[in-house]
């Protein structure tokens, strides 16, 4: 039965058909599957497959990535409410858009993927001052600060990622908290993330999920 559900769910996700995906999930629950099984055996493998496919599938477009990430996030969110006990969280990320930047969509896609991958996300919203990123990451014991910037002046500006890097350095947090960035300017210049002092960057919202999970695992190991 599980195989059939996985196939039907993956098909719905491939078609970016949210209503169909929820129908599959509802039918699976009615058929006796637990919410935990839905997340760990259906949704997460689908997200992981999407991540590995994203660079291989030349026909998948941005709109489809947005929609699939949204489906994963919504299904996971709904299933979490039905969990017998709180799920095991693999780590925590503090996320927001750079100071001066109000473009929230990229952040939203990353958050959707992270939630589906059992990463706790503290969303600081848009136009976030550098100090706040670090203050909250410290208070929340987060492993990663993720900053989205969609404009050249917010990606490279002195109040964005570079300032977060400086504060991390001043407070001696660089081994405990990693800094990742994303957004259009970093795609146009793939060395830009280093210029602004980030540890990593991702070309799209779905891959950002994977990179952040890798960073969390790296910190937890050390």
């Amino acid at each position: 039965m599980l195989e059939r559900i996985v196939k039907a769910y993956n098909e719905a996700v491939f078609e970016t058909d949210k209503e169909a995906a929820f129908e599959v999930v509802e039918a699976a629950l009615a058929g006796g599957l637990t919410a935990e099984d839905v997340v760990f055996k259906v949704v997460i493998p689908a997200v992981e497959e999407m991540m590995s496919n994203i660079t291989k599938d030349p026909d998948a477009n941005l709109a489809q990535h947005f929609m699939t990430a949204q489906i994963a996030a919504e299904v996971t969110e709904k299933m979490l409410l039905k969990f017998q006990q709180p799920p095991e969280i693999i780590g925590k990320v503090v996320m927001g858009t750079a100071h001066g930047d109000l473009h929230s969509l990229g952040k939203r896609i990353v958050m959707g993927c992270l939630k589906a991958l059992m990463v706790d996300v503290v969303d600081l919203g848009v136009n976030v001052p550098a100090e706040r990123f670090v203050d909250v990451a410290q208070a929340e014991n987060a492993q990663v600060i993720a900053i989205s910037a969609m404009m050249v002046h917010t990606a490279t500006g002195e109040n964005g990622a570079s300032k977060v890097r400086r504060i991390l350095h001043e407070r001696g947090l660089e081994e405990r908290i990693k800094l990742v960035v994303g957004g259009a300017p970093y795609r146009f210049d793939d060395g830009l993330y280093q210029t602004v002092g980030a540890d990593a960057w991702a070309a799209d919202g779905v891959n950002a999920g994977r990179i952040i999970v890798d960073l969390i695992r790296g910190i937890k190991k050390s």
């Binding site: 026909d59 001066g100 929230s104």
Partner: protein
């Protein structure tokens, strides 16, 4: 509608003419302008063309006065006197030197009956719609209530970047760029005015002194760049919700280089940091607030601006959902110019592409792109996800297999999905702000050239336009210019702008928590689900 076939040194051209239109008026809307130094009255005799064949009006008195019997026997006619009565073939041997400026096609102009009989001096007035991509303007004899001529040309600031952000960034980074951006837009406006005076009146310098008002509307970035101030503030979110003011620092510094000693320069204030005075001009032109509650205005341009009238309040916002409809980011995208596919229909086993001026298809304008995607979706070639049922590869799916410029690629579909989702989500947010549902929409005013050739039903099938009866849909092509013209011809134009601006509630979508979710939900290619009326 007839076809005017023009043979010239630049090649053979086919233009669509309306019955009774003069050859000059038609050619003035294209790059094939005749020489001219009067307003088409036949007094300058410069617009000579050679008639070859077809149905036309007989020679007029002016032509007998200006052309010798030999010239007339050789088929020479004055283009301003020569009216098209059927398919016509002419030769244009001596066109005017190439110019950036063309007349606006008459069907895009609003009919305005207003005048300022009380004006005793400086009776002329200029209305300008300063767009990101195009500048449109109209010169009026305000006293007589007569539109003398119009022009449309590229905004020269485009060399600093097609989109607003690149230009603001250039102005912020280098003060000399800021000065250059401001000067280039002001020079362009004056070139167009001089072009009108030279070609449509026949006198330049004395007429400049007769211009009593220049009224300019535009989006906030254009106004900031034009006045050379405040551009930096527009990049700072702290200013986005606030009322912003862009006025010339020194009016005489504009009047002098313009040689307009008597012109009042009027820049009606924009609504907020992200909604310009061009939208207020749209509201004036369409009379949106005179309509029923549930009236929606959509101005699809480089930025798309949207207004919803709920009977008491105007909810307004702006989204960056437009460039795809002007061909930006579309493989074979192009503006609505000759050779652009504007309509796609099925024909025996394949598709037929209708192009502007009937020329060989060179690409898609906004309505053609919409039509193509709608037809491919309806026929199952495309799926609601935006994926092709069978991948056509990077070259895309050619509607006409013999013409690669008729191809739609997966990337084009993606750009379309993201543009239409941004617009649909913005409309949804406005409806929510007003406490209304999709089912309560009664009137839809589509402004901008985009709507002109749009098949509304097909746009609705993709979720680009809301579900609303066809009778409720109005097309207003150059509405921002028309609003500026109305203000120019009204003694209290500035107050009418201000009064409308005061009823507006501007909504910055970046601060609306569920906008992103609405956006993602509107990415699928399907009609907007009409929520039942409460």
């Amino acid at each position: 509608m007839s076809i005017l076939h023009v043979s010239s040194a630049s090649g053979e051209h086919r233009l669509v003419a309306s019955d009774g239109q003069s050859v000059r008026d038609l050619l003035d809307t294209t790059a094939l302008r005749v020489r001219a130094a009067c307003g088409g009255s036949g007094t300058c005799g410069a617009c000579i063309v050679r008639f070859i064949s077809g149905e036309v009006s007989p020679p007029t008195v002016a032509e007998y006065l200006k052309l010798t019997p030999e010239e007339r026997a050789a088929g020479q006619r004055l283009a301003c006197q020569l009216r098209i009565r059927g398919d016509v073939h002419i030769e244009l041997e001596h066109p005017a030197p190439p110019s950036e400026w063309k007349s606006i096609v008459p069907e895009n102009l609003a009919e305005i009956t207003a005048s300022r009989p009380e004006l005793s001096a400086h009776r002329y007035g200029l209305a300008v719609d300063l767009g990101t991509t195009h500048i449109r303007l109209a010169l009026w004899d305000r006293r007589a209530g007569k539109r003398i001529a119009t022009r449309r040309g590229a905004n020269p600031q485009g060399s600093f970047g097609a989109d607003v952000l690149n230009r603001l960034e250039a102005a912020r980074a280098h003060p000399e760029h800021a000065a250059e951006l401001a000067a280039s837009a002001r020079e362009a406006i004056m070139h167009a005015v001089r072009d009108i005076l030279a070609r449509d009146i026949g006198e330049v310098t004395p007429m400049l002194a007769e211009i009593g008002e220049v009224l300019i509307v535009g989006n906030t970035a254009m106004l900031a760049l034009l006045t050379g101030q405040g551009g930096e503030a527009l990049l700072d979110p702290a200013y986005w919700q606030k009322k912003v003011e862009f006025q010339p620092v020194d009016r005489s510094a504009w009047q002098q280089p313009w040689h307009l000693p008597n012109a009042r320069i009027v820049l009606p204030g924009p609504v907020a940091g992200f909604v310009g005075s061009d939208l207020v001009a749209d509201l004036l032109a369409t009379g949106l607030t005179d309509g029923p509650p549930g009236s929606l205005l959509l101005d699809v341009g480089t930025n798309t601006e949207i207004a919803l009238w709920d009977g008491a309040c105007l909810h307004v916002t702006s989204v960056p959902g437009g460039p795809a409809f002007e061909g930006v980011g579309i493989r074979h995208g192009m503006p609505a110019e000759p050779g652009a596919i504007y309509r796609v229909s099925r024909s025996s086993g394949g598709y037929a592409c209708a192009t502007i001026a009937g020329e060989t298809a060179r690409g898609f304008c906004g309505s053609g792109l919409t039509d193509a995607i709608a037809v491919l979706l309806a026929d199952g070639c495309l799926k609601s996800s935006g994926r092709f049922a069978v991948s056509p590869g990077p070259e895309g799916y050619a509607l006409d297999p013999a013409n690669p410029a008729t191809a739609i690629t997966g990337i084009d579909v993606d750009a379309f999905q993201r543009a239409k989702a941004a617009i649909a989500a913005a409309m949804e947010v406005l409806l929510r702000q007003a406490g209304m549902g999709w089912g309560e929409l009664r009137r839809l005013c589509i402004c901008g050239a985009f709507g002109h050739t749009l098949d509304v039903g097909r746009a609705q099938s993709l979720g680009l336009l809301p579900p609303i009866d066809a009778q409720g849909v109005e097309l207003h092509a150059d509405a921002s210019l028309a609003g500026g013209e109305r203000a120019l011809l009204s003694p209290d134009g500035a107050q009418r702008f201000a009064a409308l601006t005061d009823t507006i509630k501007a909504i910055n979508l970046s601060l609306i928590a569920d906008y992103d979710e609405a956006y993602i939900n509107h990415l699928r290619l399907r009609p907007i689900a009409g929520a039942p009326s409460p």
